[in-house]
């Protein structure tokens, strides 16, 4: 007959922290942590002492003083009387613009090149190999400088468009491609209720609505297919959902185009894409695309050939095999390294000053730092910004990665 006894009550003695293997590692880790904190505290206080001794104090007050300098490309209202903080924000927006546009084109070019590099056509695949090797193995700064130099020296300058016997002329009287940048027609709305940003908000709302409409349509088509086995033809409906509301809205709001015109030293009016912006974005896009192409190629090769053959034996055509069988599986391999390519592109955009593009390194980390002499503060803010933006990109891409990765049940 067994008697049930209570387990011995947990008694904890302080000495157990050292003698008991269950707790000992915690003790040592705790001590190490305290030592580490103390060391950093010492180093920080040392830094502040030395800064104070050198007559420097950490203060962010300069951010609210007028900047005093002008910035050429500004996505928000900014004059030389605005504050250094606003100048920094203008720089941040310029950085984000280059990063977003650069990542967009890098992805398109990269995927295209990566797929083409696996082409059965010998010339195409070799050409793509040459592209990848050339762009991957020359530093991006050199590419930025080369593209800018070619841009400036090959394209005509605004002064070549002037006079009776001008050596250059506008394309279709709408586009001017000059060494200073591209001048494009700018759409705007003439209707009073849609003046300024309102009109564009309406357009944005319509596009979002169309997106969900198109998705609902696609879902309906899939449901029908599962029920009846036939997929209804929807492409004209999709087109209608995307374009009909937009065209009606454009008509109601009175869409008009502002054409660039040569006035004085420069073209006036229209949209102006600066040479520095184009050169920087283009260089970053094609450089990063070379890396992305390799990721894509690796991802596709990682899908076993049996998958392709199985799909082919089911009667799928080659492009359907690529889009329905190979790419969805390849994406799982492609996305994680793609994240780091996006991060690289964003961080490489800090080379902008080489072509005079005013990104955040150029405004906050360049002119503001120089005019105020607040090097430590400015660099700290810069680090914080790049850290934030990089972590945000990582987060977004990881969310996407989780949504496509193999669902294990």
């Amino acid at each position: 007959m067994a008697s049930i006894t209570d387990p011995p009550s947990e008694s904890f003695k302080l000495s157990q922290l050292l003698s008991d293997t269950r707790y000992r590692s915690y003790t040592f880790q705790f001590i190490a942590l305290i030592a580490l904190i103390a060391a950093f505290a010492y180093l920080l206080s040392n830094l502040f002492q030395n800064l104070a001794a050198a007559g420097l104090d950490i203060s962010f007050g300069f951010l609210s003083e007028p900047a005093g300098y002008d910035i050429n490309q500004r996505l928000i209202e900014y004059t030389s009387q605005s504050t250094h903080w606003r100048a920094a924000v203008v720089g941040v927006l310029n950085t984000l613009l280059v990063a977003v546009v650069g990542c967009f084109f890098a992805t398109i070019i990269g995927v295209l090149v990566g797929v083409l590099r696996l082409s059965n056509n010998w010339i195409v695949s070799r050409l793509m190999s040459v592209y990848v090797e050339i762009f991957r193995n020359v530093p991006v700064l050199i590419w930025i400088l080369i593209i800018m130099a070619v841009f400036v020296s090959v394209l005509p300058q605004p002064r070549d468009f002037r006079g009776e016997d001008a050596s250059a002329s506008m394309f279709l009287d709408m586009f001017a491609f000059t060494g200073r940048g591209f001048y494009l027609p700018r759409p705007y709305f003439t209707a009073e209720f849609a003046a300024g940003a309102t009109g564009w908000l309406i357009v944005l709302a319509l596009l979002v609505g169309s997106f969900f409409g198109a998705r609902a349509l696609s879902k309906w088509a899939t449901d029908t297919q599962e029920r009846t086995g036939d997929r209804p033809t929807t492409w004209y409906l999709t087109l209608a959902i995307w374009f009909v509301p937009l065209i009606i809205a454009m008509f109601v709001m009175g869409l008009a185009w502002e054409m660039p015109e040569l006035k004085g030293f420069n073209f006036k009016g229209g949209i102006f894409a600066r040479n520095s912006f184009i050169a920087l974005t283009f260089a970053l896009a094609i450089y990063t695309a070379a890396f992305i192409a390799e990721n894509v190629r690796a991802g596709i090769l990682a899908v076993s050939k049996g998958q392709t053959e199985a799909a082919a034996s089911l009667g799928l055509r080659p492009n359907r095999i690529m889009s329905l069988v190979v790419l969805p599986q390849a994406l799982r391999v492609i996305i994680p390294p793609l994240i780091s390519q996006y991060l690289n592109l964003t961080k490489n955009s800090s080379l902008a000053i080489a072509v005079g593009y005013m990104d955040v390194t150029g405004t906050l980390g360049g002119i503001t730092l120089n005019q105020t002499g607040r090097a430590i503060e400015a660099v700290l803010l810069l680090m914080l910004f790049y850290l934030t933006i990089s972590l945000t990109i990582s987060l977004l891409m990881n969310v996407y990665n989780n949504s496509i990765k193999l669902k294990e049940r």
Partner: protein, 340 residues
């Protein structure tokens, strides 16, 4: 292991930060060379010649200081700095002095904690445009694209000038003078703006200088001079009085040709020359140098007038007139306190 190395490196960085405050004069003597910050290349002011030797108006100041302190005009390590890197280089102790056509302003002197030791060139900001544009005044520049060196006072002056005149412009920021030249020549900007002396030097380097005009407007005061860090007054005095020695020597007629003769023996008729050249009084000792310091400084490339004429004067390609930079005895602004 890795962590401890990292902490050690941090600690070392902290300690070495604390040591930078020692006397610059002792540092320079111990090192045996003077670290002098100059521009990355502005012909006439500071640029390496065909043999890789740095030459120029600002370079001459560096060499004079090196000769005064170390007795060797070639014991200079020239550190090329851009408009953006120059102040960090000086504040961090990477260079001992900065002679890089730098404008003396209130905030640089007071807020950035530098010591301007004097003015070696009185300048003002000007504009250069291609002659074919037919522009005759800076006020006609509405809508122009302007190339500008970033991190300079010219950037702020430019913003002020265009705002005050209610005209618009498109700034193209550029890191160095060398990068600005091709952009301007290719027509990527209509106008290049910097100090008038820099414009003259840049224009002189063009294939066809006559195709470019410097507009008459001078929109700012730009007193350019050498500077050192705040707080080391002994070192500041040495640089200041070496510059003053060059200016005073012109006034007193001491040149690189006759300085050796005049320093050989005291001439009772010229007491100030005697004090300058150390044959009378103990001025050199007061500076912490020997009596011959100014003789050595003047032997390198002569007095202020000689340095000016050799590097940027009217006989050179740059062709600048003395103008404001004449001695006060000739109606200019150069005026050194007395050597007494």
């Amino acid at each position: 292991m890795k962590k401890s190395v990292f902490i050690g490196a941090l600690a070392l960085a902290g300690v070495s930060g604390g040591m930078a405050a020692a006397g610059t004069l002792d540092d320079v003597k111990a090192r045996g060379t003077l670290n002098c910050g100059v521009s990355t290349g502005l012909v006439g002011f500071a640029a390496p010649d065909a043999n890789g030797e740095w030459q120029g108006f600002d370079v001459a100041v560096c060499r004079a200081v090196a000769a005064a302190v170390l007795g060797d005009a070639s014991a200079v390590e020239f550190v090329p700095t851009t408009g953006k890197t120059r102040f960090t280089a000086l504040a961090s102790g990477e260079i001992d002095m900065l002679a890089r056509n730098t404008t003396w302003t209130f905030s640089r002197d007071v807020d950035l904690k530098f010591e301007f030791v004097g003015v070696n060139y009185y300048d003002g900001q000007g504009f250069m445009v291609p002659a074919e544009l037919g522009v005759s005044s800076a006020k006609d520049l509405d809508g122009a694209t302007v190339c500008i060196q970033t991190g300079t006072t010219t950037e702020l002056n430019l913003a002020d000038f265009f705002r005050a005149n209610g005209i618009s412009y498109e700034p193209v920021p550029i890191e160095t003078n060398a990068e600005a030249q091709p952009l301007y020549l290719e027509g990527a900007c209509d106008v290049y703006t910097t100090d008038a002396s820099g414009l003259a030097a840049t224009r002189a380097a063009f294939e066809d200088p006559s195709a470019h005009v410097v507009l008459p407007e001078i929109i700012s005061k730009e007193p350019l001079g050498p500077l050192v860090r705040h707080g080391d007054n002994e070192w500041g005095d040495i640089v200041r009085w070496t510059l003053n020695a060059l200016i005073t020597a012109e006034e007193l007629g001491v040149t690189s040709d006759n300085v050796a003769d005049k320093a050989a023996a005291a001439d009772p008729a010229t007491p100030e020359i005697n004090r300058l050249l150390g044959t009378e009084g103990t001025l050199g000792e007061m500076l912490g140098l020997d009596a011959q310091w100014a003789v050595r400084a003047l032997s390198v490339s002569g007095n202020y007038a000689e340095i000016f004429e050799d590097n940027i004067g009217e006989s050179t390609a740059i062709g600048l007139a003395r103008g404001l930079n004449a001695s006060y005895t000739d109606g200019g602004l150069l005026y050194s306190p007395p050597f007494r």
